[in-house]
Each structure stands twice: as structure tokens, then as C-alpha cells.
Amino acid sequence: MGFLPAVKAFPRQRPLLFIVTAVLLWLGLYQLILPTSELLVHYLPVDPSSHLAGALQFFLYDTPKVLLLLTGIVFVMGMINSWFTPERTRALLAKRGEGGANVLAALLGIVTPFCSCSAVPLFIGFVQAGVPLGVTFSFLISAPMVNEVALTLLFGLFGWKIALLHLGLGLSVAMTAGWVIGRLKMDAHLEEWVQQMPKVSADDPLQNVILAERVDGGFSAVRQIVGKVWPYILAGIAIGAGIHGYVPESFMASFMGKEAWWSVPLAVIMGVPLYTNAAGIIPIVQALLAKGAALGTVLAFMMAVIALSLPELVILRKVLKPRLIATFVVVVASGILLVGYIFNALL
């Protein structure tokens, strides 16, 4: 066997050994980022105290750090995802009554693989199997908003406290909004053809997945997710670095600060037409925050960008009548507004 094919076959033949090696390698690289970026900026022909040096240091340190974090976590999530297929999630949810199921749906939203282009098949499949409408919405709100990409970026750029807050509040919004929609009894506002779809059982086809296949799942998640979002992250960090180095301190405070009560609704309204898969927006948001924007306002903006996107609403319109779409938007937007105000009031 040649060298390259041997390297390629290694993760599949010795999955456990591969995981241990990969973890050690990852940790080693992570330790090297800060000294390397400092060294690089030191040897570049720029004044170390200038705006340019500040922006460069931010860019050279944050880019590899965020990309490395993202690769590691997406790989692990790719492996975890192989335990939580949409079929299994559906089977778990169909068995439970509302309330508890809303909580479970929001939690499963974190670990079940989801892409917004699958929103419609998933929606119909859940409803067909007798998962209540409100529970389906809890899942549909949580899955894109509380995902590993958003959480990793928040952790990498803001620290674990903010990442945890986003996790907790995102889950709360998903649970509550889904529960409220369930109370409104809007099943008649699904498109007729969806209501007429034959009922299906929520069986979970049990599959035996071996460790090597889960490792494969990790690789394909990295290829598909990191391969897709890295240009957004690079662009986002570059813009963030620019704001970091050049926009004066407290510039944002005037119109995104705590004193401006209208800033939270404005942030939510601005967030809806913007759509960048969570990855591009967070680095920009970090820079806004550093320049005096209020945390609640910024979090509300981010949640609105991720959870209420125009493209997804257009896709969902195929299965939901206008009144149900409008209710969905109003309920979720209110939840996000509340989060924004609570934060600004507490901190």
C-alpha cells in the first residue's frame, strides 16, 4: 500500500487510535496559535501600536483559532449526529404529550442534523407521524438557531458565558414559542395538501452503526459545513478586524447602546432580511460589542438573523398558510425582543 492511501484508510481501520491522535494534534495546534500570530505581527513592517497592527493581530489570531475550533467541534458533532437521525428524533417526539415534548424538541434541535432546505420535508414528516404542531415548531426554531456553528463562534470570540447564555435563551425561545403556537390550535392553517397527507407511523428503523462509520460522519460534516462556511467566517473576521482597528470606541453606543430603547426592535427588524448561516454575522457582532453596543441588542440582532430568515419563510410558505406564517414570525420575534430587553435590563 502506498503512503497516501494508507493515510486515507487509517481512520477507518483504526478509528479509536485515529481519534486519540487527532485530539492530541488538535490540542497542540491550538496552543501554537497565539505565539505564532504575535510572532508574525512582530516581524511585519508595521508599527506595533498602530491601528493596522491591532487589526492584523486580531485577524491573524482569530481566524485560525475560530477555524480550528469549528473543525474540531463540527467533527465531533458529525459523529454525535449519527446517533440522532431525524427519524429517531421523530420517534422520540411522537410518543410524548405537549409541554414535555416542547422541551425535548428544543433539546433535540441541538444534536439532530438540520439544513434549512430540509425544513419542509421535516415539517411534513413530523406532522404526518402525529407530532403536535407546536412541538414541530419548537424543533424547527431550535435546530437552526442553537447549532454547533453558532455556539462555537460565540465561544471562540465572546467566551463561554455568552455561548451558554445563547444556548439557554435560544432553547427558551424555541420551547416557549412552540408551546404558544400549540395553544393557538392552528392545525387548520396548514395547506390542504399537507393536511391530506396519509398518516405514517413514527418507527425508528434501528441501524447498527460502527465507530468507523461515525468517524466517516465526522469527516463528511467537516467537508460539508466547514467547507461551506469558511469564506463567510473569513469575511466576517476581516470586517470585524476593520471595525476593531478603526471605528472609534463607543461609536456604536449612541445607536446600539442601552439607552436607546428602540434599538432592540430595530435590531430584530434589520435581522430578518439578513441571512448568513450564523457564521458570517458573529465576528461582526463581536466588533460591535467591543465598541459599546449593548449585549441584549446584539444578541437579539443575531437571533433574528439566524431564526427568522426570509429564504426559510419563503420555503415554509409552501406548507403553511399566511396566517400561520405570520403567527410564527410574531411569536418568535416577540420572544427574541424579550430576550433583548431582559439582557439590557440585567447587565
Partner: protein
Amino acid sequence: MKNIKVLGPGCANCKTVAKLITAVAEEKGIAIELEKVEEIREIMSFGILATPGVVVDGQVVHSGGIPSRDKIAQWLTA
């Protein structure tokens, strides 16, 4: 000749899967009939929960994400 359907409402991943299947079939010299199913009601009639889905001779073999080349080769030669 195998009949293969790629189920998906025209998203990027769906197109990638269709291309990948064509490429693997050519590589292996296997003649296939490839159909793209983009109408959402028709997609749902196969009972999948995530797109892209792949159907080989009426049997759903895959749903959600991009399958590996090895897997595609297995479907084509089975």
C-alpha cells in the same frame, strides 16, 4: 438499467449529489437513468425527512447530506 431518482427541491446539496452519481456511474461504466424529483409533494411521497434523498429502483437508500463515493458505487453495483 438502474433507475435512480434524486429527491430535493433544487438546493445546492441536491445538485451536488446528482452530479456525483453521474460521475461515479461514468467512472464505473454503468448505464443509469437519472431523474431529479423537485416537486415537494412528490418528494414527500417517498417518506423521507431530509433532503437530498436517493431512490434506486423504487427503494429509498439515502436521505440527508452528501453520500460518499464508495456508498454510491455500492448502490450502483448492488
